[in-house]
């Protein structure tokens, strides 16, 4: 078996252009790898080998004709919440178990136009609500670093498939950490771009003001390549920003000497795990060796981030998920008497526990008489957090902190304790609240050999600085080269 499946996109791109391989060969290699490890990892909800090979053949003819784009022929997995025309898009939910959208999400359209090979859709927590991919209707995805561990969530399938080399790259979505947390747990790179950088059109909404699509890859170079493809204004998304994004690959392998990183005390004092502390201290040393200056910072309202998030996100979700009612598409409960009964039974049987919990939270918080105390107050906190960051970025280029409080936890460990599960996102949620770009890159391994990610945060539309710093770190520390064992720990 060839080792094409384990190569990064930029390596494959040059092999393709040198004529040393073909997209079909790459895709076949990846499909073979999937056959080998997918029974253990369970990263995919839907896979269509024939369609993937057909895309690969088309990509090869594009490459042969010289009409190709940079990522033509490269395999990619998409999270199961991105509408893929005519193909099952379930959001990890029973209520959409047979839903086939009649249109493509803008990002899917971009991948297809680029000539990328979409392998299939990756598993996720139901409607992206969760931090472990355990709430999926299709069952949990397992962490390639330890099959009894969760890959994190909600984009667990997207992260695990990249870590297990079941795809070259993937797309996920991040509402409170759903790209960065699984990237950290699975030892890959994952970026949540600035809110508004990537079109949300066709991304099935969880919390519209927080959701953002972003890439997963095994190195930062591939992250830059994917950002080049997916960032950009979309007239179909009113919240998409009309900004000109730079060529992100231009920020790879450049000097970071003289740049400033902020270390907010409110983040540092939350670190309880020794391994996480060591990895972060190590990362700081690496950056300092590269000529980066560190300063201390204060983000006074950070501590209210999780509380405010768990008001805003459920409020939006309660409204966004109202459309799943058994009337038009998706699951409809059998044996119903009348309209209200159809609504109640379809939703009761179609949604899982966590989704119902958040719908109820949001419905309650928006109810007459509670709106000011909950939604409005949370919205104000959100503004304060955004202001905190704005002020912080006046004196630094980026903020460094852990991605997660600890390495991956065991499947089943937190599923019955929502509060513990929610606290997993303590370092990632504030970034969504402020709409900032954040990246998680492999920072090192724990004493038990599990990956630990470090998170870099920049100001709005400064993804380029994240690429610049991550690339420098990666080139120097090479932590991203560690590969999982694919065994039970």
């Amino acid at each position: 078996m060839s080792d094409l499946f384990s190569k990064s996109a930029h390596e494959l791109m040059s092999l393709l252009r040198q004529g040393k391989t073909s997209s079909v060969e790459i895709t076949q290699s990846v499909l073979d790898r999937i056959k080998e490890v997918e029974p253990d990892v369970r990263a995919f909800v839907s896979l269509d080998e024939e369609a993937a090979l057909e895309s690969a053949r088309r990509a090869d003819s594009l490459l042969a004709s010289g009409a190709s784009s940079p990522l033509t022929g490269i395999p990619i997995a998409i999270k199961d919440n991105m509408c893929f025309k005519g193909r099952r898009t379930t959001c990890g939910s029973k209520i959409l178990e047979n839903f086939k959208p009649p249109y493509n999400a803008t990002v899917v359209e971009k991948l297809e136009r680029e000539g990328m090979v979409i392998l299939g859709s990756a598993n996720m927590d139901e409607f992206a609500m969760g931090s472990s991919t355990e709430t999926s209707h299709w069952g949990p995805t397992r962490n390639p670093w330890g099959l009894d561990l969760t890959p994190g969530g909600s984009s667990g399938g997207s992260a695990a498939s990249v870590a297990a080399c079941e795809t070259t790259v993937s797309l996920g979505s991040d509402t409170g950490g759903s790209i960065r947390l699984p990237a950290s747990y699975c030892g890959v790179s994952g970026m949540k771009p600035t809110y508004g950088s990537v079109s949300r059109f066709g991304l099935v909404a969880y919390a519209s003001s927080l959701d953002q699509i972003g890439p997963f890859a095994r190195d930062v170079n591939d992250i830059a390549l994917l950002l080049n493809l997916i960032c950009g204004h979309d007239p179909m998304d009113s919240t998409s920003a009309p900004v000109n994004h730079p060529d992100f690959t231009a920020f790879l392998n450049t000097s970071v000497g003289g740049m400033t990183i902020g270390a907010p005390s409110q983040f540092l004092e939350k670190i309880e795990n020794r391994d996480v502390e060591n990895v972060l201290a190590d990362a700081k040393r690496v950056f300092e060796d590269l000529g980066v200056k560190f300063i201390e910072l204060s983000l006074p309202h950070l501590d209210y981030g999780i509380a405010a998030y768990y008001v805003i996100a459920p409020c939006e979700a309660s409204s966004n998920l109202a459309r799943y009612d058994g009337v038009k598409y998706g699951f409809r409960a059998p044996d119903v008497e009348g309209m209200i009964d159809m609504y109640c039974k379809s939703r009761a049987a179609g949604f899982g526990q966590e989704v119902k919990r958040r719908i109820m939270l949001g419905t309650y918080a928006l109810s007459s008489g509670y709106y000011d105390a909950y939604y409005l107050k949370a919205a104000k906190i959100r503004t304060l957090i955004t202001e905190d960051f704005k002020k912080a970025f006046e004196s630094c280029d980026a903020i460094l902190c852990p991605t997660a409080p600890a390495p991956a936890f065991r499947i089943g460990e937190k599923i019955d304790d929502p509060m513990q599960m929610y606290l997993t996102d303590v370092f990632t949620i504030p970034v969504n609240m402020a709409g900032l770009p954040g990246i998680s890159i492999p920072g090192g391994l724990s004493s038990e050999g599990l990956p630990i990610g470090i998170q870099l945060i920049a100001s709005h539309f400064k993804e380029s600085k994240l690429i610049q710093l991550s690339s420098a770190f990666q080139n120097c520390a090479k932590r991203h080269l560690a590969r999982p064992s694919l065994k039970v720990n």
Partner: protein, 480 residues
């Protein structure tokens, strides 16, 4: 105790944009069910709304016409409720920050003009329609109307009688139609009205408990529904009872109202800002630009017609009830400067034909200049008023010039003295008895001679000249 009614109206008007409020689907009425739909207005997972700027422009026009303040920043909110005709199960509307507030309009009432306050005008999207099978317990959903842009115009509780409410409603209706932002069709539902009504003892200011009335799809039904509800409130209060706050449905067949849902059953709409849409920014310069494009509105036009053309208030009211009619009138007057005569013709023959054919102005054959020529011919004595009516009917049917019709059909009035004299002499000769009667002093037979002469001339005799010549001939006979 004497009671006074307090009435406020909520009007929903569909805007005449080509495409829907948040997607590019057509808004055309009458298409096959679900033909004017796309994933966005079907509420498919992952779709997002993009606001139609034309709808905003139309709303601003109405807000300006109603003397509202335009908010520089406004935002869309989601109104959450479950119903199968609402595919997202929330309606995009405006709540805390509407596009416009604090307006007023002047309304004609029995006791003269009254100023009715407008609380707010905001934008929202329409819902679809449920179609219920007549024979089976099955309902179907038609989403063609889903997402059609609406404005909701909320009045202050300033009206005191069903007549005032109807007058307010008609005023807003004609303003919307004048602005060409709504077709005003109540039957097709492009102009709808809900009413809130309460009673209070005359002379007091506190508001009584209100009921909300729905399902009144004509001006008359709004009046009937309110009348019924005021009488019902009066009876309840006179009997010492209390009004229950509730929503009631008007039944046009019985003319009564029935309870639909109580306050306790009222929806909690859980409004919150729609995160899919950015706050709307309407710069003052844009508002000023739109203000420049506002047409003359019905009230101003009526006043101008009275002062400029010297026509009675009643005529001015009829002519300005529709913008097209008013413009037609002005065009005719441009070529034939006798406004009262033009007004008479338009209010009678023209409107009769218009009504009979159920034609719209764009379908009319008769050009204003042609109607002017016809009136000119009457004034010049070329045809009689009576002949003119038949000429007009021909013009209406064919669009031919009146001169050509008169010529071809030989309808020119006979003003030739010798020809008329010959006719008169013949009639006098043929009717010796009547001549004797006249000569013996029974001058009423004059009418008989005129009638005979008209008949002989096939109606073309110039009546003034005919009378004069007849009188001359008869006086000759009496002297002879």
């Amino acid at each position: 105790m004497e009671y006074e009614a307090v009435i406020g109206l909520e009007i929903h008007a569909q805007l005449l944009t080509d495409s829907k409020a948040f997607c590019s689907c057509s808004t055309r009425f009458g298409a096959q069910p679900n033909m004017n739909t796309c994933p966005i207005c079907q509420g498919m997972p992952g779709t997002l709304p993009v606001f139609n700027r034309k709808a905003l422009e139309f709303t601003i026009k109405m807000a300006l016409a109603c003397n509202c303040r335009i908010n520089e920043f406004s935002r869309f909110a989601r109104k959450n409720y479950y119903y199968p005709d609402l595919p997202k199960n929330y309606q995009i509307s405006q709540y805390e920050l509407p596009i416009s507030e604090h307006g007023w309009v002047m309304v004609e009432t029995e006791s003269g003009q009254r100023k009715i306050g407008i609380t707010r005008i905001h934008m929202e999207e329409d819902a679809g329609k449920l179609v219920h099978d007549e024979f089976k317990p099955v309902s179907y959903v038609d989403l063609n109307r889903t997402g059609v842009p609406l404005i909701e115009i909320v009045s202050e509780p300033d009206m005191r009688s069903p007549e005032e409410a109807a007058s307010y409603l008609k005023t807003l209706h004609s303003v919307l139609v004048y602005l060409r932002i709504c077709d005003g069709n109540m039957e097709e539902g492009s102009f709808r009205c809900d009413a809130n009504v309460s009673l209070r003892p005359v002379g007091t200011t506190a508001l009584g408990t209100k009921t909300e009335l729905k399902n009144m799809n004509s001006f008359r039904n709004v009046q009937r529904g309110l009348q019924y509800e005021i009488e019902r409130h009066t009876d309840v209060l006179r009997d010492g009872g209390r009004i229950v706050q509730e929503t009631r449905l008007f039944d046009p067949v019985t003319g009564s109202t029935v309870s639909m849902r109580s306050k306790e059953q009222a929806h909690d709409y859980r409004y919150f800002p729609d995160p899919d849409l950015l706050p709307l920014h309407v710069p003052e310069e844009w508002v000023d630009q739109i203000r420049q494009t506002l047409p003359e509105l019905p009230a101003e036009k009526k006043e101008r017609f009275i002062s400029e053309f010297g026509i009675p208030s009643y005529d001015a009211g009829v002519l300005t009830a529709s913008r097209e009619l008013a413009e037609y009138f002005e065009e005719v007057v441009k070529s034939f400067n006798n406004p009262k005569s033009v007004s008479n013709w338009i209010m009678t023959e023209f409107m009769r034909a218009l009504k009979a054919d159920e034609k719209s102005f764009s379908q009319i054959f008769v050009k204003p200049s042609q109607l002017a020529s016809l009136l000119q011919m009457i004034e010049e004595g070329k045809i009689s008023g009576k002949i003119a009516k038949t000429v007009f009917d021909d013009m209406w049917a064919t669009g031919e010039d009146p001169a050509k019709i008169v010529q071809e059909k030989g309808l020119m009035q006979v003003s030739d003295t010798s020809e008329l004299e010959n006719i008169i002499l013949q009639i006098l000769k043929d009717n010796p008895n009547e001549v004797s009667k006249y000569l013996s002093g029974k001058t009423q037979v004059m009418g008989f001679f005129v009638g005979q002469a008209m008949k002989a001339s096939k109606g073309k005799a110039n009546p003034g000249m005919l009378n004069k010549l007849l009188a001359e001939q008869l006086s000759k006979l009496s002297q002879g």
